[in-house]
Amino acid sequence: MPILKADKRLVKTGIHFMLGNYALVEGAISAGCNFFGGYPITPANEISELMSQRLPEVGGKFLQGEDELCSIYACAGAALAGAKAMTATASAGFNYMQEGLGYCYTIEAPVVVADVQRCRGENYASQADVMQMRFGASGDYEAIVVCPSSVQELYDYAIWAFNLAEEFRNPVIIMSETTIALMRERLDIPEAEKINIFNRKYTDLSPEEYKPFASSEFGCPDAAPLGKGYHTIYSLNPHDEEGRIDWDPIVFDRLYKRITGKITENRKRICKTESFMMDDAQYAIIAYGSEVRPAIEAARMARESGVKLGVLKLCNVWPVPEEQIAEVSKQVAKIFAVEMNIGKYASEIERVVAGRCPVQRVTKNQGMVHTPDEIYRAVLEGVK
């Protein structure tokens, strides 16, 4: 995988006080994003607005599609034509994009989608779409979903998302939230030479030798430039290594095992977590996105009360960081699954924990993030 350094002309090195949505845009531009297709929706509008200004400055293309479907498919077309393409939307708009995401997974188009989760009809905070991120489209596929918890991480994870998309030729979803997207915070943008950039690998073969979907059992095929005689069929239908549409059982089996296996078999490469106060922890919170913030504060409060509580922060929710969650379950007497919905990802945590310790759900769907006190009180109650 060719690793490069970010282009100095794209990176606004320095200390900023920036809106979350803007930080996401700067991260994407630093990563080399040169195509954006969007459709107006709050609270993702600042992403489109800044993209429409920044992309022409860096030689990229901005499109406001007639709907979300146009945006996601234009990104698919642009990505196959060689662009680093991105779209941004919010929960309701993300519904529409599932169809296009399904196409991108199957033909292995590296598209980045930012979903700024919100509640129905308004901009109240929510993490209720965490399962949709993974299971929204029909068919067999695996999603990569990163979940920033701050303005800084919106910048950092945008770069990470593009790198993952290019490395695995798979859509990557940035699971943003109203809370961080519309927040202004300190943002440190490093020097360009400190930012690693991955670009997809193009084939060295001639059109006659090239097989568009040939790879190792769980590998990612090399890409070919569009319109250069490689005559590849990019069809949603089951296709063999040559790209030929085929409903042969073996073709099914190989295709779907490979496009899912290239993610699940590389779980270790993809998954990231961070631990807070976990060294001597007897209890642990597992949280993702903006819920990590009150969770860390709750852990501090619990420690002042003599409860040795730590936090495992999931930097990505899909694929599930199974190894890291399993490690925690071997260490602690109880896990608290904190999330801003009716209780969804907790099922995944319970599956991985497999009964090694109890998992208590700390959920909230009231349009606002947990307060540290709410989590703290739930933990004190739970450790009795």
Partner: protein, 269 residues
Amino acid sequence: MSELKINPNRRFLREEKLPHFFCSGCGCGQVLNCFTQALDALDMDTKDMVTIGGVGCTARIPVYLTSDTFHGVHGRTLAWATGVKLTKPEIPIVIFAGDGDLASIGGNHFIHAARRNLDVTVIMVNNLNFAMTGGQVAPTTPEDARTMTTPYGSAEPRFDVCELAMAAGATHVERWTTAQPVQCTAAIKRALQHKGFSLIEIVSQCPTHFGRYALRTGDPLKLIDWIKEYTYTEADEKKKTPDELVGKLKCAEFKRENKPTYAGTNNQI
């Protein structure tokens, strides 16, 4: 016996995909033939081209071409094309879409791509129904026609897709039929040379579904005769009274004009 000659235009086709999957007597094969003749006449090649099909019978046409091809999602042909065109404007794009794909599920993308004057060629094969799914009513189905979902006759007025394209801003619009292969090839040639949004509508027979349900015959020759009755040319127009033309579709080169094409945001800032 004379020696069997291979059609030289087979060089544009994926040999391994043949024979094609179209029903006997279907117009899609004729359209594919007209398209390869236009390529040959213009000395163009499929190899440096992107062809796009959505879902449906017509959408299968590009799968037989030795081009880079997008396929398999219903109605999104022009959305794909927009992304490709903005990224690689030099790549010629040809879209093959059925009337259902383009005028029904893809209708919104269609009017907006026409409005933007996206530089693509759209060949719409209008077989007047949803054929691949078994012959359901389409926006292009003639009023009162019997289909699998209009057993008592269609209660909806029919769409004139050429009028729609022109109203939306398409800069090159023509309609012909499979009964007019020479005109079809000529129209496709003009479209491939046109800079801007081209719509070539080709009214076509569906012997398997629309023919049998709406017209009570699966005989392609009878259906082509019916298409000749269902449509009229500028020459016919002069010979007939306005009453005789009611409910029929005109075949002509309706519009061809030069206007700036869509290139996304202006990079010259």
